[in-house]
């Protein structure tokens, strides 16, 4: 029986050799991921994995049992910290290659909390994880105007799928 209180550190994990064998160019292990303190620039506001959900798919975020299928799809619930972001017409660029997430492609992003605004994720033409944009709309369904500050200090929670 699954113990819901089981510490994350006890969850089964893959060794680097497992990853290399099963998935080829597997994303960089999380322990090697750069932190924000390092001088790496990303597009848009910072995005972090929601700590509550960090263990649901294992530390590699794979959705399904990788031992039995060739499926490489990954999913994660993450938080976009808008901070002082002002709205740009066409959408706020969101970069899911950053931090602990390190997705290469994101084809689906659903806002599930943190704002009352309507939203629509616009994937990049090639689903590149650092090229998508998140559009926001007011209660009448009109896109926020350029320079709107309605997003500021919001922590927008999203469910993303990609690989």
């Amino acid at each position: 029986m699954v113990n819901p209180n089981q510490p994350i550190s006890d969850a089964p994990s893959f060794t680097d050799s497992d990853k290399a064998t099963k998935h080829g160019n597997f994303p960089t292990p999380l322990s090697d991921a750069p932190s924000f303190s390092e001088s790496i620039s990303f597009l848009g506001p910072p995005i972090t994995v929601d700590a509550t959900f960090a263990h649901l798919n294992g530390r590699d975020f794979f959705i399904q049992g990788v031992d039995s299928t060739p499926n490489r799809e990954r999913g994660a619930i993450c938080t976009i910290s808008m901070g002082s972001t002002v709205y740009s017409t066409g959408g706020v660029p969101v970069d899911f290659t950053q931090s602990l997430i390190k997705f290469r492609t994101v084809y689906l992003c659903k806002v599930i909390g943190g704002t009352k605004l309507y939203s629509l994720y616009v994937p990049d033409a090639n689903n590149d994880a650092d090229e998508g944009e998140l559009k926001f709309f007011d209660s009448a369904g009109a896109e926020l105007p350029q320079g709107s500050t309605l997003l500021q200090n919001l922590n927008v929670q999203c469910y993303i799928r990609g690989n």
Binding site: S68, T69, R72, E73, Y107, K110, Y118, L120
Partner: protein, 121 residues
């Protein structure tokens, strides 16, 4: 022009096989697919919802959940499963900014594209 529903090409290979089963190598028959619903230029709203026929997606026979992810209509929508969750006759209701259902014959849904995750068998 009719409302069309298509399996999203980006996701066709992700399930590992064409069955779209969520749990391969198990007795579970549940399936999942990412689909794009496109409302035609000439389509108008019907009171109580427009009918969505998901049987055209790899022969789904039941759909119990439609998770709207990218809503090109922007304002609220709601999936109403059919009796017995029949995949051919579920409906999607559309609402205006006040929360009221669109009126019969409304053209507000025209040319809208909605991406959903459906679950069923």
């Amino acid at each position: 022009m009719a409302i069309t529903i298509a399996l999203d090409a980006t996701f066709t290979h992700l399930m590992g096989d064409r069955s779209l089963k969520t749990k391969q190598n198990s007795t579970s028959r549940e399936r999942e697919a990412v689909v794009t619903i496109t409302v035609g230029a000439g389509d108008t709203y019907t009171t109580n919802g427009v009918t969505l026929d998901f049987t055209q997606i790899r022969l789904f026979s039941q759909v119990y959940l439609v998770n709207v992810c990218h809503n090109g209509y922007v304002l609220p929508v709601q999936y109403i499963p059919a009796a017995g969750n029949a995949a051919a006759t579920g409906k999607m209701k559309f609402f205006d900014s006040s929360g009221a259902e669109l009126g019969n014959g409304s053209a507000a849904i025209q040319n809208k594209v909605i991406k959903c995750i459906i679950r069923g068998i």
